[in-house]
């Protein structure tokens, strides 16, 4: 079962690298914000899988909850700032 988690984690990491294309080269700022939100969501699952591989689940559950909170707050703040600024 551990090897299954390792392969799943490597596949998710490949998806993160693919999302980075939209995060750097998206035409305009809003595309980059959407890419970063997607990267944060995938990182959350990778953190939990790492907790299961190293057999210390209780530690990594708290860390991934904090990461979900900060992803949400950061995306809303960035979108609000760009709405105020008035350009894409």
């Amino acid at each position: 079962m551990t090897t299954f988690f390792i392969y799943l984690g490597m596949g998710l990491f490949t998806l993160v690298l693919l999302c980075l294309y939209r995060g750097t080269l998206g035409p305009g700022v809003l595309n980059r914000i959407a890419g970063i939100c997607a990267i944060g969501t995938k990182t959350l699952i990778i953190l939990l899988l790492m907790g299961f591989i190293y057999n210390r689940v209780e530690m990594f559950v708290d860390i991934s909850m904090v990461y979900a909170l900060l992803n949400f707050i950061g995306t809303i703040t960035a979108a609000k700032y760009l709405e105020m600024k008035g350009e894409v």
């Binding site: 209780e58 530690m59 708290d62 860390i63 909850m65 904090v66 909170l69 900060l70 707050i73 809303i76 703040t77 609000k80 105020m84």
Partner: protein, 151 residues
């Protein structure tokens, strides 16, 4: 000038989620013996909840909940708790922040006094970090300007 979001979805979801974020920050501070966390991390999450309130509900309404004066008082209160516990250990005749001497005041065994001393220090650090984070974001949001009647 961050104005009120005239969108009811973001305002309602933020209103639902902010108390649970603060409760989670309190859990992270109090549970620092057995899980990753502590004073700084809990203070950051608590400050982030106030920043979420400011971003979604506007500057004027956030000022009624936590003004700049209150943020200054809270940060000084946090530092007072931290250094107050350290000075209390110094007064009782030992080194600074040597919690074993607190067992004379609290009437518990020295090992339990050390545990309670660390918990008190973490609470002070958490309050100070929360107040400083909110104060810095408030200054950046207003651009450092004050209105005529505030000085």
């Amino acid at each position: 000038m961050i104005r009120l979001t005239d969108d009811i979805i973001i305002r309602t979801v933020a209103r639902i989620l902010i108390p649970f974020i603060q409760l989670y920050a309190l859990y992270v501070i109090m549970h620092s013996h057995h899980s990753p966390g502590g004073g700084f991390q809990g203070g950051v999450i608590l400050g982030a909840s106030f920043i979420l309130y400011l971003v979604t509900h506007g500057l004027e309404e956030a000022k009624t909940r936590m003004s700049e004066m209150k943020a200054g008082i809270f940060s000084s209160l946090g530092v007072l708790i931290y250094s107050g516990i350290g000075l209390l250990c110094l007064i009782l005749g030992s080194n600074y922040l040597d919690y074993g001497k607190l067992s004379a005041v609290l009437r518990v065994i020295p090992a339990q006094a050390r545990s309670l001393g660390i918990l008190g220090v973490e609470i002070g650090v958490g309050i100070a970090v929360m107040a400083v984070m909110f104060s810095v974001f408030f200054d950046i949001a207003t651009g450092g300007e004050l209105k005529e009647d505030q000085e």
